[in-house]
């Protein structure tokens, strides 16, 4: 499996990569009729969401996705998934930890979100409410190591 494009997390004014998919089951269940389409082997889930923690709560504020239709692949936005909330939704369904890797690359793994970085920021949430945060130090990267999340290769699928 190709390394996957992460979600985006805006936390304390910083844009981070989010290596978890808080929307996964929503897309699999409530929004399954959307029939999302993967534009490349690096985005099998068919969308990228932008999340933010505001006043200690997790919100999905932006989404760019691809869905299949009779006339080909269509780009969709948040309003398509949550019609009455095009500007943001409270992610009350999420309970668990979100991981945002930070710093230099320690080890590149071409699959899922398995690459390792100097630090992992873990945000613990309970029904969408931030409970705690912690940073795990994974080691020191080489001085010339690439900074930030990256994907080395992917296959882009042709659009009809």
């Amino acid at each position: 499996m190709t390394a996957q494009i992460p979600e985006k997390m805006i936390y304390k004014g910083e844009e981070l990569s989010l290596c978890d998919e808080p929307l996964h089951y929503y897309m699999q269940t409530v929004a399954k009729d959307l029939k999302l389409e993967a534009p490349s082997s690096a985005l099998w889930r068919g969308y990228v969401g932008t999340w933010t923690i505001e006043d200690g709560r997790l919100y999905l504020v932006k989404l760019k996705g691809y869905k299949s239709s009779d006339s080909g692949a269509l780009e969709i936005e948040l309003g398509e998934v949550f019609p009455d909330y095009p500007d943001g939704v409270f992610a009350h369904w999420f309970t668990g930890e979100l991981r945002c890797p930070m710093g230099g690359l320690l080890e590149y793994v071409h699959g899922g979100y398995a690459s390792r970085y100097e630090m992992d920021l873990f945000l613990k949430l309970e029904k969408g409410v931030l409970v705690s945060e912690r940073i795990v130090n994974n080691g020191h990267a080489e001085p010339n190591a690439p900074q930030g999340y990256r994907i080395n290769a992917m296959t882009t699928f042709g659009r009809r």
């Binding site: 269940t29 409270f90 009350h92 991981r99 979100y113």
Partner: protein, 202 residues
């Protein structure tokens, strides 16, 4: 026809006979007849009931099929090998059954849908959630209730998930709790989960 052509045709058919015999042997060795004794008995009884005309017709059919196999044995042999590799065909697969995130072992307790609904109100200071039971997931809750029939029982559930990092030499993310833990409600009918609704996940 010259001698060479007869020779090669003879070789072709001889090889065909040999391979068909090998094929028969392979079928005997690897292909177990999974029909029950009852079915085998019924088939034998049907065979015995056939008229002499039907038996003659079956005989000629077998001869015609056998002859065809000897002529196009490479095709027949390829089909046979493919069948043996693929295993016995089955018209029923488990894929026909709906798949659920929850299993019977994940069920926690029987719940009353009305009480669940009352407790499922979600409040957000920014009003980014609908004022409905289970907020943005309300559609899923409605679907679950719609699937409930008299005699069905609604259970709450929690899947156990998995804890990455248990294996030796694991260097991946250090999550503090198990991953992929899913909460929700399931409808149980005749000791089987027939529908589910996920309310929380990670």
């Amino acid at each position: 026809m010259n001698y060479d052509l007869w020779f090669w045709m003879g070789c072709y058919f001889a090889l065909g006979v040999a391979l068909v015999l090998v094929g028969r042997l392979l079928v005997k060795l690897f292909h177990k007849d999974q029909r029950s004794d009852f079915v085998k008995g019924a088939l034998a009884a049907l065979e015995a009931d056939k008229t002499s005309q039907e038996k003659r017709r079956d005989f000629f059919k077998s001869v015609a099929t056998g002859s065809l196999v000897f002529v196009v044995w490479p095709v027949a042999f390829a089909v046979l090998v493919n069948e043996l590799r693929g295993g016995p065909a089955s018209s029923y697969t488990k894929e026909d059954e709906p798949k659920f995130t929850s299993e019977m072992k994940d069920l926690l307790e029987i719940v009353n849908p009305k009480e669940v609904e009352v407790a499922a109100k979600i409040v957000d200071p920014k009003n980014r959630v609908p004022d409905l039971p289970f907020g943005h997931l309300n559609r899923g809750w409605k679907r679950l209730k719609w699937k409930m029939r008299p005699g069905d029982v609604m259970w709450s559930f929690r899947t156990s998930g998995f804890q990455p990092g248990n294996s030796e030499g694991y260097k991946g993310p250090q999550y503090s709790a198990p991953q992929n833990v899913v909460f929700g409600y399931a409808i149980v009918r005749s000791k089987k989960i027939v529908a589910e609704f996920l309310t929380q996940w990670d």
